[in-house]
Symmetry: C2
Subunit: 335 residues, 2 copies
C-alpha cells in the first residue's frame, strides 16, 4: 500500500503514538519563559562531567533513559534509537548509545534532527518494523561554541543576528498503542541554498528551507494554515521567523496568527541577552518535548505542525568560502 | 503487520530491489585488485576541485546522479536520498544534496553508513512510503587524514595496524519493481565498546560490533553461515578481519570459508603499502556497489550478507581520552 501523499509527504495510517517525552535543559534555559515545562533543569551545565562534550552526552543519556522509564518500559522494549547532535561525528549520541542496550541509528540534520528523527521513527513504526522506537537529540552551548565558533575563554562578541545554542536534550518514545498524541503526516525537506554565507545569521540561511517544507506540506495534504492550532518552526530565531512569515505569503499561505518559533520562545531575549534567539538541535527538542507535548496532553493544543530547521554548515565549509544550505522536515501531531 | 524477526532483525516481505548502483574511486583504488568492477576511476583525486572536501562531495554527487541515470530515472522519481559521510557535519553529503531536487535525510554511522543507509532505505520502501530511494556514501583519503589525523604535508608515518581511508563514493537506487538483486533482511546493530582507544587500530575497535551483529543476524533468522555465498564486512581490514573470524567462533559460528572484508579486498596491501587495509564509508560503498553487486547481477553470487562497520570516534573524543565504540549493521541481499 502506497502511503505517499503529494510529492514529499507520507500519511501514517496507524497513527504512531508519542507515549512519553523527557527534556533536560541548562540553567539559562531554566531561567527562560518555558521553565515550567522542562522535566529537569541543571544547576550546573557541566552536569558533574569534566568536559562540555561529556556533559552534553550525559544529558542526552538522561533524557533517553528517563523517557523510557516514563513510558514504563526498559531498554529491551525499544527496537531502535534514532538520535543525532551537532558535535563532530555525533559524539554525544554515540557515547550516550554505547551504554544502552538498544539498536542505534545515527542521524545528522543539524538543528533539524528532532523532526528528522521523529519522522523516520514514525515511518519505521508505521511500517511494522518495531513496537517502540525513540527519537532524541541534544545540543550544548559550550560544546557548540568552541566547535563552530570560538572558545568561550576568548569572550568574543556576538552579532545581533547571531543565535544562542540551547543547552538541552529531548527524547520521545513512540509506540503503537494507547491514547496519546499521534503523528499523522511527515513531510521530508530538500536542501535549499539561497547563497547566505554569514555564519552569524543562520536564521536567514534556514528560512527558505522552512518556507519550502511548510508550503509543500500544505500543497501535499490540501490542508491550510488554519487547520493547525500551532505551526512551530525549530530554531529560526527572531530574524528567521520574520523572514519565514513574510516569505511564505508569496506562496499564498498566511501563518501570522498561529505561528511560533522554538528559538524565539525559549529565551527572554532582552533580559537574557540572547540576541536573535535560541538555536541548536536541543532547542526544538526541549520545546517540542516540553511545552508542545505537555500542551497536547492537557488538551490545550490539538493539532500541531512541527518543523525543525537545520543550517548545514561545518567550520571547514565556511572557511572554504562555501554558502550555508538549509533543510527542514515537518511532522504533524494531533490528539 | 509486524515484520520483526527475533531481537534486532526485520523481514522485508516486498523484497526491495537494488535496481542500479554506481561507484567512483580514486587512482590508488583504481590500481587495486578490484579495478575492473568500478564505474569511474579518477585520474586525479581532486577531481578538478580546489579542496579535497569539495572533491569528495563532487564524487558523491557523481555517484548519485549516475546511479539515477543508470536506473533510467530522474531526480523527481526519487522520494528520499539517504546519505552520509565522515566529514564533520556531513559536508560531502549535504553539499552534494543541495544541487539535487530530492528530499534528503542525512545519516552518520562512521564507516557503517553504507549498510545503515541501505537498511533504512529498504525499510522505508518496504513500508510503502516511497517508490524509489537512494542509499549513498563517500569518503576521501585526503579529507579524512587531515580531519582525523594529520595534514598530509606532515608526512606522518603510519602504524602497521593503521588503515588507509578509501577515496570513493557509491550509490544504490532501490525500487519496488523489476528482476534485480533484492533485500530480504536487515539487522541493526548496537553500539559496542570494548575499551579500545588506539586510533591507529580501528579494526580491533570495530570487530566486536561486527561479531555481535553477524551472530545476532544468525540467531534472529535461524540461518547459518553456509546459507550465504559470501559474508562481507565493511572495512575491518586485516587486523579486524582476523579478530572477527576468531571471535565469532566463540558464538558457535564458523565463517572462515566464505568470509571476506572490503578493506582487505580493495588494495594489494604489500604492493600498495596500505598497512592493515582500506577503511572509510567509501570502502564498503564501492566494493558493495562494484564487486558485490556486479557479481550478484552476473549470477556468480546469489546470497550475500553485507555488514558495514563503523568506529564511532571523533578527534575531540580521542583527545579527551575516551574509548572508540564500534557499530555494525547487516543487510541480506539475494537474487
Amino acid at each position: 500500500m502506497n502511503k505517499k501523499v503529494g510529492k514529499q509527504t507520507v500519511r501514517l495510517d496507524s497513527k504512531p503514538k508519542i507515549i512519553s517525552t523527557f527534556s533536560v535543559v541548562g540553567p539559562k534555559e531554566g531561567n527562560g519563559p518555558l521553565s515550567e515545562y522542562f522535566d529537569v533543569i541543571l544547576e550546573d551545565d557541566l552536569n558533574k562531567e569534566d568536559t562540555y562534550e561529556k556533559a552534553e552526552s550525559s544529558i542526552l543519556y538522561m533524557a533517553i533513559k528517563e523517557s523510557i522509564k516514563k513510558a514504563n518500559l526498559s531498554d529491551n522494549d525499544i527496537d531502535y534509537l534514532f538520535a543525532g547532535d551537532l558535535l563532530n561525528q555525533l559524539t554525544s549520541s554515540t557515547f550516550a548509545a554505547k551504554d544502552m542496550d538498544i539498536p542505534f541509528l545515527g542521524l545528522y540534520g543539524a538543528c533539524s534532527t528532532m523532526t528528522e528523527s521523529l519522522a523516520i521513527a514514525a515511518m519505521i513504526l508505521d511500517g511494522g518494523f518495531a513496537n517502540h522506537v525513540i527519537a532524541a537529540t541534544s545540543s550544548h552551548y559550550s560544546s557548540a561554541e568552541r566547535q563552530f565558533r570560538f572558545p568561550l575563554e576568548y569572550g568574543s562578541q556576538k552579532a545581533p543576528t547571531a543565535q544562542w545554542t540551547v543547552t538541552g536534550a529531548g527524547s520521545m518514545v513512540l509506540g503503537t498503542e494507547g491514547n496519546f498524541p499521534y503523528i499523522t503526516y511527515t513531510t521530508i525537506g530538500k536542501v535549499k541554498d539561497y547563497g547566505v554565507n554569514d555564519v552569524n545569521n543562520m536564521g536567514e540561511a534556514m528560512a527558505p528551507a522552512a518556507v519550502n517544507t511548510i508550503s509543500q506540506h500544505f500543497m501535499d495534504t490540501g490542508r491550510t494554515p488554519d487547520y493547525y492550532d500551532l505551526i512551530v518552526t525549530g530554531d529560526l530565531g527572531i530574524v528567521g521567523k520574520r523572514i519565514t512569515k513574510e516569505l511564505i505569503m508569496e506562496y499564498g499561505y498566511d501563518i501570522s496568527s498561529n505561528y511560533i518559533d522554538c528559538g524565539d520562545e525559549i529565551f527572554n531575549h532582552e533580559k537574557q541577552l540572547t540576541n536573535a534567539g535560541g538555536s541548536g538541535c536541543g532547542c526544538s527538542a526541549v520545546v517540542d518535548c516540553g511545552y508542545i507535548y505537555k500542551n497536547l496532553l492537557s488538551g490545550k493544543l490539538k493539532k500541531v505542525l512541527l518543523i525543525s530547521t537545520g543550517a548545514l554548515l561545518s567550520s571547514t565549509s565556511c572557511q572554504q568560502g562555501l554558502t550555508i544550505p538549509g533543510i527542514a522536515h515537518a511532522v504533524a501531531i494531533e490528539s
